[in-house]
């Protein structure tokens, strides 16, 4: 399907004969009255002009993800008049999306996100052609979808998909505008722009996602918006900034191969930047900050775009690399023996029968989650704080008592069991391991138990009205 190293000269000449000719014909086209009026305020901006607007109208752009980033990005991309806008998403609109996913509506809850967002975009601008792709992007369909477009905007929500999209963009020579956001911070970076064939290293070229983030964080460390929360304006700013970058790329012809006479060679070697945004919610007077970080160019050793890369489109389709495994999504197994685990239902039953001795119930969720509801008597020690105290204990800077948080618990009989519960049952297992490691099991006198499945299981098995969040 695709040679390992595309011949840049072949690529160049086909671009020259095809795209360039095409562009000459297209750029002689005049605007309709509606286009002229609709785009007038943006066309008179220095650097845009008639040429820039025609490039937008003649281009095809793909937005992957119709959520917190995709909605604001799509609004401005549609408004600017990009001719063909593809949107990929397999989800449906949910109530908990609406505080940030501004392209959907309360009246469209339950509708496919692609259809809901396109409905909204048509209201803003009916002129572009909107193409819905109503399933999630995956290794099987990624190349087929991405190959239909000139520029890709990554608005997805998980690491496996981010690596997949970046890899396919490298192989298909597509610029990628990538952003991400969680809680109170966001990141934006333009990758593989101007697009450069895989393996080319004769000068400085733009990096791909793997050049910047060589390996993903451990599966448990990666927070999703559903788990960690997200502020609407933060993800919104990042999405809007993505639209700005995409419009800039197309209007200045940076998406065209460097060989194309219509491309912008003087901009080709600009050092890429990573835009970082973060804002402080804990302190009302704390500033929010934007930082533009200078990034390095393409890495010689990069797995995807580097010198000896073996990455191919056929390989990706066949499951090589395995993105899920690379990002550790399959790893949700427990290392704890069964006798150190108890289901939420069994814990509740034993407790209500009065069979449990005096014990500590440690809830390792964040205090915001804890504030909405807890099991009676639970003590809140957020997981991060627990790990830090554990580290301090190891250094000799704290006592094991301090791990259990509040002082009124002390002294605890040395055989009083500790039960640990978290949100969904992963952190609690690690917490049990940590406590055992610190010798808090008192040589087997004390049981340290994980409540399987966390508060989610508590809601499902014990208290259906529990405000799980």
């Amino acid at each position: 399907m695709q040679d390992k190293k595309p011949d840049i000269n072949g690529l160049a000449s086909s671009a020259r004969n095809g795209v360039a000719m095409d562009n000459r014909i297209r750029s002689s086209r005049s605007f309709t009255d509606e286009e002229f009026e609709r785009y007038s305020r943006q066309m008179i901006v220095p650097g845009m002009g008639k040429e820039g607007q025609l490039r937008l109208i003649n281009s095809r752009l793909l937005i992957v993800g119709a959520g917190g980033l995709g909605c604001p990005a799509a609004q401005y991309i549609a408004g600017a008049g990009v001719g063909t806008i593809g949107i990929v998403d397999g989800d449906v609109v949910e109530l908990s999306n609406l505080h940030r996913q501004v392209g959907h509506a309360t009246s469209r809850i339950g509708m496919k996100k692609v259809d809901s967002l396109i409905t909204h975009l048509r209201g803003l601008n009916p002129l572009p052609t909107y193409v819905p792709h109503d399933s999630h992007i995956d290794p099987q369909n990624a190349a087929d979808i991405i190959s239909q477009y000139d520029v890709v905007v990554d608005c997805t929500d998980n690491p496996a998909t981010r690596y997949l999209i970046s890899d396919v963009c490298v192989l298909l020579c597509k610029p990628l505008v990538s952003a991400a956001s969680v809680q109170k911070s966001g990141q934006l970076i333009v990758l593989n722009c101007p697009p450069t064939p895989q393996g080319l290293l004769d000068r400085k070229y733009a990096p791909c996602y793997r050049c910047c983030f060589k390996k993903p964080p451990p599966a448990g460390a990666m927070l999703s918006c559903g788990e960690a929360g997200i502020m609407g304006p933060v993800v919104g700013m990042m999405g809007v900034a993505q639209a700005g970058e995409a419009i800039k790329i197309i209007a200045s012809a940076l998406h065209l191969p460097p060989s194309d006479p219509d491309s912008a060679p003087e901009r080709n070697l600009q050092q890429p930047t990573l835009l970082l945004c973060s804002y402080d919610l804990e302190s009302a007077v704390g500033p929010y900050t934007f930082r533009a970080l200078k990034m390095a160019s393409r890495k010689k050793t990069c797995f995807a775009c580097g010198e000896n890369s073996t990455l191919t489109l056929d390989g990706i389709k066949a499951g090589n690399p395995n993105y899920e495994q690379f990002c550790g999504l399959a790893a949700t197994h427990s290392n704890l023996p069964p006798e150190e685990r108890i289901t939420a239902a069994a814990y509740h039953a034993a407790r209500s029968r009065g069979e449990l001795p005096e014990h500590v119930l440690l809830d390792t969720r964040e205090k915001e989650h804890f504030s909405f509801g807890k099991i009676d008597g639970a003590v809140n020690v957020p997981f991060g704080k627990l790990l830090m105290t554990a580290a301090a204990v190891k250094r000799g800077g704290a006592s094991t008592d301090q791990i259990l948080g509040s002082a009124e618990l002390q002294p605890l009989p040395e055989d009083a069991p500790i039960f640990v519960v978290c949100r969904r049952g992963l952190d609690s297992q690690e917490a049990v391991e940590k406590l055992k490691e610190l010798g808090m099991g008192n040589g087997g006198k004390r049981k340290i138990m994980d409540i399987v499945g966390g508060m989610k299981a508590w809601k499902e098995e014990v208290d259906h009205s529990f405000p799980f969040i």
Binding site: G65, G67, G68, L69, G70, C155, T156, D157, N158, P159, R162, A179, A180, S181, V182, Q183, S185, G186, Q187, C212, F213, K214, K215, P216, P217, P218, A221, M222, L223, S224, C225, A228, I230, V235, M238, G239, L274, L276, S278, D280, R291, A292, L293, K294, M295, A296, K299, K300, T301, G384, K385, L387, M388, A390, A391, K394, R395
Partner: protein, 107 residues
């Protein structure tokens, strides 16, 4: 190596400190958004210094994060990259601003 410009944000005078910023999961792990640490410090000792302060931060955060000094990406001197030698020579100076930037994935 002091080719990077001095950080405008960090006006710590000549107190022998650099500022370190913890973004996203680095902030959750350390429980703070920033702090100051003693300078000068060779870049090659940065991760070990942080590991000593926040046990486990290496595997949980640093291994997959990118690092900047004064708003410029620096290669950490631990991989097999070509810039290894240059990276090994970088010294974090008094008044520098270092940032730990883990990837964020949600959207």
């Amino acid at each position: 190596m002091t080719s990077h410009p001095p950080a405008a944000a960090a006006q710590s005078g000549s107190s022998g400190k650099f500022t370190i910023l913890y973004f996203a999961s680095a902030g959750s792990y350390t429980g703070k958004q920033m702090e100051t640490l003693p300078a000068p410090l060779p870049l090659s000792k940065l991760f070990a210094t942080l590991e000593a302060r926040y046990e486990g931060i290496g595997a949980a955060v640093l291994d997959h994060s990118l690092v900047t000094v004064n708003l410029t990406y620096v290669e950490m001197p631990s991989g097999n990259d070509e810039s290894e030698d240059a990276a090994a020579a970088v010294i974090i100076q008094d008044g520098d601003e270092v940032a730990i930037i883990p990837p964020v994935s949600s959207g």
